[in-house]
């Protein structure tokens, strides 16, 4: 019964749309993906770091050999001793003295709520907006992993930085077609709901550490 009502609504709404468009408005051509070709990678790394810092996230830059120590320093800043991590996370990222809880089998919500932080990689990063993009796969981890813990440490390879939002969406189109969930993160959780005054930290991770490896 419910199904027939629903399918009836479908034909009614589509019928209304066709009637509303009886004047045959001209079809608009496909919008070409934009503009402004700019180099990413190392050339965009300084701008990326500056823009991330604008959101009051902490940005560190290091060479691959120093990554373990850079992660350790981030953990020390927040007193973090236990980190949740996706199974694909390279062991070389994990600092000494930190207990890593690997998300395989999947950690329960309560387990994620009990760790001090999460460490992930990213799918790519956007320089002009200081954004990291997680794609739910591989080193990005599934969505809950980087959402529930109060600290998110995100490691980005300099080569993953694209210059613009346009470049990012072009690069992410295949992931979207594959049905991967995408999460754009630009700084820590924030609200401006009270007198338009920005406060870092409501429901998402209140502290974001971004480490750029080059």
């Amino acid at each position: 019964m419910a199904e027939s009502v629903t399918s009836d609504a479908r034909s009614v709404v589509l019928g209304r749309i066709r009637e509303a468009l009886a004047d045959k408005p001209p079809p608009v051509p496909v919008e070409a993906p934009h503009r402004r070709p700019q180099p990413g990678g190392a050339a965009a790394a300084a701008l990326f770091a500056e823009r991330v810092a604008d959101y009051r996230a902490t940005v560190s830059r290091c060479v691959p050999d120093a990554l373990r120590e850079t992660v350790a320093a981030a953990c020390r800043r927040h007193g973090a001793r236990t980190l949740a991590a996706p199974a694909a996370l390279p062991p070389a990222w994990v600092p000494a003295g930190c207990e890593v809880r690997v998300d395989e089998p999947a950690l329960a919500i309560e387990q994620l709520d009990a760790v001090d932080g999460a460490i992930t990689g990213a799918s790519l990063a956007i320089a002009e907006t200081g954004t990291i993009v997680l794609d739910g796969d591989g080193v990005s981890g599934r969505r809950a992993l980087s959402l529930i813990p109060d600290l998110h440490i995100c490691v980005v390879d300099e080569a993953q930085i694209v210059a613009t939002v346009d470049d990012a969406f072009v690069a992410l189109a295949d992931s979207a077609r594959d049905g991967r969930p995408l999460t754009f993160v630009s700084g820590p959780s924030a609200t401006s709901d009270i007198e338009l005054r920005r406060v870092e930290g409501v429901h998402g991770p209140r502290r974001l550490e971004v480490i750029v490896v080059a």
């Binding site: 408005p25 934009h34 990012a168 969406f169 189109a173 049905g179 969930p181 609200t191 409501v202 429901h203």
Partner: protein, 459 residues
């Protein structure tokens, strides 16, 4: 029946605290917007691209919705269609019951405000928890939202502290420091997020090509609601569809800069159907008409459906700044509300809203998808005037104003006459009916000794 703007505006205008809160807030956000828009060298080209993308979707809306339906279904989602608010509410209620839940967590959504979902769920014994900080404030205060983006913009920090102390457990020592207030909301909602079985959201965009649904937010409550529950129900207006995934690149540049004045908002979640082992394992997308096809049928008014709910037009509107959102008696306040509400609900139900504007044009100038809001306002005034039977104040006024504005020569003559203290532009001050109610709340500006046009010509 929403013909009360002039009366509601009078009440709002008498509230000095409200006006102060609004002025501070709208001016702060205007400055931020101007700054980040100024950074983008080809902002105008971006606006044009945004306009074209939405027009492309709207001009072949049936085809794009069918493509969206197919893409979502192919990835394990279930698509429902709703002709109106009652039908959408009934679908949500049924889905929540089928999930065996008695409460849902909600991420701020204009569409679910519009259809009155929370009240409908309450009527079915289901508690809907708003999780956006401002929506929580509004819900706890049994208040109404007054701004699209910042629904509690009319409340200052002291009022919010008092509200939290009165309604949230363990907050007796709370100060009015915004960070403390946000922390109190975090503690209150966290348990609910972690145990919620059903989440309800709206959608900022949905991509026909990939079935991607996109929710733009700041606090993380959107990520919580769309990730942690077992079942996710999204209610979206049919005009939210965009054709292709890369179209989001344009929208995600226009929206955050126009809306919060940020280069990018903290969190944007995008998902497509169901993903095994990640997020809700049941996803329902409800495609809502509820008057949108009526808007689409008006060849001038149709551009209203481009709106991406950024609220930039509210923040620059001299009328909104003085009256606030409640005076519009609509889910959608401000200039966009003045054109959207009468079209969605029928012109007869909101006859005064198209007059809730001074036609200064600021709204059209900031609109990221180039909706000609003043043009649509004038068009709707004309339609309402045509529909009115008998001799009505608006009809008289508009007939006169239409004559006045019909040619440049006559417009200039009217300005000249007003400058001398008489003529058609002056008579607004002494009109009978709703226009008088409108004008008693405002000072009719004293016309300058020399009009801009005279001054320009004399140079």
């Amino acid at each position: 029946m929403k013909d009360g703007f002039p009366i509601a505006a009078r009440t709002a205008l008498a509230d000095a605290q409200l006006r102060r809160n609004l002025r501070v807030a709208t001016h702060a956000i205007r400055r931020k917007r101007a700054q980040v828009v100024g950074e983008v060298e080809d902002w105008e080209a971006l606006r044009d691209a945004g306009r074209r993308i939405k027009d492309r979707a709207l001009h072949e809306l049936d085809a794009h919705l069918e493509e969206l339906e197919h893409a979502v279904s192919a990835r394990g989602g279930v698509v429902h269609w709703a002709r109106d608010a009652d039908e959408a509410n009934a679908i949500v209620t049924r889905l929540v019951r089928e999930a065996g839940a008695r409460e849902v967590v909600k991420v701020k959504s204009m569409a679910t405000d519009e259809i009155g979902l929370n009240a409908a769920l309450a009527g079915a014994g289901i508690a809907a928890r708003e999780t956006d900080l401002a929506e929580l404030i509004v819900q706890l205060a049994h208040d109404r939202p007054s701004h699209i983006l910042v629904p509690a913009i009319h409340r200052n920090r002291a009022e919010i502290r008092d509200l939290f102390r009165a309604t949230l457990p363990g907050t007796d020592d709370l100060t009015d420091e915004p960070s403390e207030l946000a922390e109190a909301a975090r503690r209150y909602l966290r348990r609910q997020f972690l145990s919620a079985r059903v989440g309800v959201s709206g959608a900022n965009f949905a991509v026909a090509e990939t079935g991607t649904v996109c929710v733009v937010e700041s606090e993380g409550n959107g990520r919580m609601c769309t990730t942690l529950p077992e079942v996710l129900i999204t209610v979206m207006g049919i005009e939210k569809v965009v054709p292709r995934f890369v179209d989001l690149a344009v929208m995600m540049q226009l929206l955050p800069r126009s809306s919060t004045g940020e280069r990018m908002n903290p969190y944007t979640s995008m998902w497509s159907g169901v993903r095994a082992g990640d997020g809700p394992q049941a996803f329902h997308l409800i495609l809502l008409d509820n008057g949108r096809t009526k808007v689409l049928a008006d060849t001038v008014g149709r551009q209203t459906l481009r709106c991406i709910r950024c609220s930039a037009c509210l923040n620059v509107c001299p009328v909104y700044e003085r009256t606030g959102g409640h005076a519009y008696e609509s889910t959608y306040p401000g200039p966009i509300g003045a054109i959207l509400t009468p079209q969605l609900e029928g012109l007869e139900s909101a006859t005064s809203l198209p007059w809730a504007s001074s036609l200064c044009g600021a709204c059209g100038d900031v609109c990221p998808v180039k909706i000609d809001i003043p043009g649509v306002l004038v068009h709707l005034r004309g339609r309402i005037t045509e529909q009115q039977s008998g001799v009505r104040a608006e009809r008289l006024a508009m007939a006169a104003l239409a004559r006045v504005f019909a040619s440049r020569r006559r417009y200039e003559a009217a300005q000249a006459a007003a400058t001398r203290g008489r003529g058609p532009l002056r008579f607004l001050a002494s009109l009978p009916g709703p226009l008088r109610a409108w004008s008693v709340s405002r000072e009719v500006p004293v016309p300058p000794a020399q009009t801009f046009r005279d001054w320009w010509r004399s140079r």
